[in-house]
């Protein structure tokens, strides 16, 4: 009887502590003000369509895991046809490769199925277009590969960088496999 009362008291106390802890710190999924501000800045730059905004170089360095999570969510939420915007997000995340999930994201982007047309990635276009469209259609994947290559040159974990290269090599987009072939030697040696 006394043992049962003790167990009940411990359970009640644990529940009380858990409830108080939950009230004190918000759930992990709710972003903090700083992370939200960083995301808002990114969205502002993307909306401006100004790729030469110096804040792209100045800001977004040493992104927190929370900020990177928000950027990945922003990438996933965008229509695939927003190729430059998605590529810009990949570019920024590719400068902040500190955790396994950062590399996993680059691998996923490098391995994305080809975008079949600028108007609708799911539907091929029989119309002709501009020279350079092969690059634009594969832009996010090309950026992922470029950033992995750069990281490899700067001494990032070789196995992580090479995993992005392997994902790119298996791509169905000719522009991606072509760049993978061109950059492959650079994954084995650091820049002088």
């Amino acid at each position: 009887m006394r043992r049962g009362a003790w167990a009940a008291a411990i359970l009640i106390a644990a529940a009380l502590l858990g409830w108080r802890a939950a009230r004190r710190s918000p759930p992990v999924s709710v972003p903090g003000a700083e992370a939200k501000a960083t995301l808002a800045l990114l969205e502002e730059i993307l909306a401006s369509r100004d790729d030469n905004d110096p804040r792209l170089d100045r800001e977004f360095v040493a992104l927190s895991s929370e900020e990177k999570g928000l950027f990945r969510a922003a990438y996933a939420a965008r229509p695939r046809e927003r190729l430059n915007e998605r590529g810009t997000i990949v570019y920024l995340l590719g400068r902040n490769l500190t955790a396994p999930e950062d590399w996993a994201f680059l691998r996923e982007v490098a391995a994305e199925p080809p975008c079949l047309s600028l108007a609708d990635c799911a539907k091929p276009s029989a119309d002709a277009g501009e020279h350079g469209d092969a690059v634009t259609l594969a832009y996010p994947s090309l950026v992922a590969l470029r950033q992995a290559h750069r990281a490899a040159q700067e001494g990032a974990p070789a196995d992580e960088a090479r995993s992005v290269l392997e994902a790119a090599r298996a791509s169905k987009a000719p522009a991606v496999t072509r760049l993978a072939r061109a950059l492959a030697p650079g994954f084995d040696k650091k820049a002088p």
Partner: protein, 286 residues
């Protein structure tokens, strides 16, 4: 495709001022042109030859005809600058001006010899001068439809550049829009026979032995007028511009420099003459 080719030939044969239209570098499909004379079209069809794979191009004879037609314009220099047609939507004007402002703002530490020969320094002032002394007006056209962004229609007006709705509809990196614009600007040069494209060799393979194909139609580029044999043509000059931006731009973001490199390497694949390619590679490595 055949219909468009007939329209083009018709335009050339009649050399009708301001009415006939030929997409210079646009995509396949219907053009914004008046109804043609069918008999003239059929007569012209025998000699008509247009790319079935990627972009339209013109023949040496057509360039000569454009030279003859616009000889007066060639001899009489005009004041630099351009105007927008009234039907160019405000958002397209805004984007074009923003892109040109981006180019005008560039500054470089140095430039390669080929770049100096074509554009001058890696400098906004020189890029602006290049554009504004070649393009006098900007209008709206389908440029053959499809995914085209810009074109020049030399028989209609060799110094006019046409934009499509795709200029703002699609999500291109900024430097790639300017690559297309400067490629087309080079094609306005009537005095240089508009820098006509060369026929891609058969077979036409990349450095890895893979057939070069149109990303859109999947058709081989072999035998099509979608290549250049000189560093000075439209593919060559835009490659040189991009490569110099990638290497020497002092106030570009790292992203712009990376993008310029990606597109330059892609465009280099259209240079088919070994000597021209070597000249460019040597130029870039100096």
């Amino acid at each position: 495709m055949v219909r468009a080719a007939l329209l083009l030939s018709f335009g050339l044969l009649l050399a009708a001022p301001s009415r006939a239209a030929a997409p210079f570098d646009g995509g396949a499909g219907a053009l914004d042109v008046p109804k043609p004379d069918l008999s003239a079209m059929q007569e012209a069809a025998a000699d008509a030859r247009r790319s079935r794979a990627d972009l339209y191009a013109f023949t040496k004879e057509e360039a000569a005809a454009a030279y003859k037609k616009f000889a007066f314009g060639v001899r009489a220099p005009r004041a630099p600058g351009f105007t927008f047609d009234k039907d160019v939507p405000a958002d397209i004007q805004k984007q074009m001006l923003a892109d040109l402002a981006f180019i005008k703002g560039l500054a470089g530490e140095k430039a390669t010899a080929l770049h100096r020969k074509i554009f001058g320094a890696v400098s906004g002032a020189d890029y602006a001068k290049f554009f504004e002394t070649r393009v006098s007006a900007i209008g709206m056209n389908s440029c053959g439809g499809g995914n085209a962004v810009a074109c020049v229609i030399p028989f209609r007006d060799p110094s006019k550049m046409w934009l499509t709705q795709n200029f703002i509809r699609f999500s291109h990196p900024q430097v790639s829009r300017m690559m297309v614009v400067y490629h087309e600007a080079r094609h306005t040069e009537t005095k240089n026979w508009n820098w006509g494209h060369a026929t891609c060799p058969t077979p036409f393979r990349d450095e890895n032995g893979k057939d070069m194909k149109s990303i859109w139609t999947g058709a081989s580029l072999a035998g099509e007028p979608a290549c250049d044999e000189t560093p000075l043509g439209s593919y060559g000059s835009s490659t040189i511009m991009l490569k110099n931006i990638s290497k020497y731009c002092a106030n570009c973001t790292d992203k712009v420099k990376m993008d310029a490199g990606l597109y330059a390497d892609d465009q280099m694949g259209r240079i088919i003459d070994a000597d021209a390619k070597k000249e460019m590679q040597d130029d870039f490595s100096r």
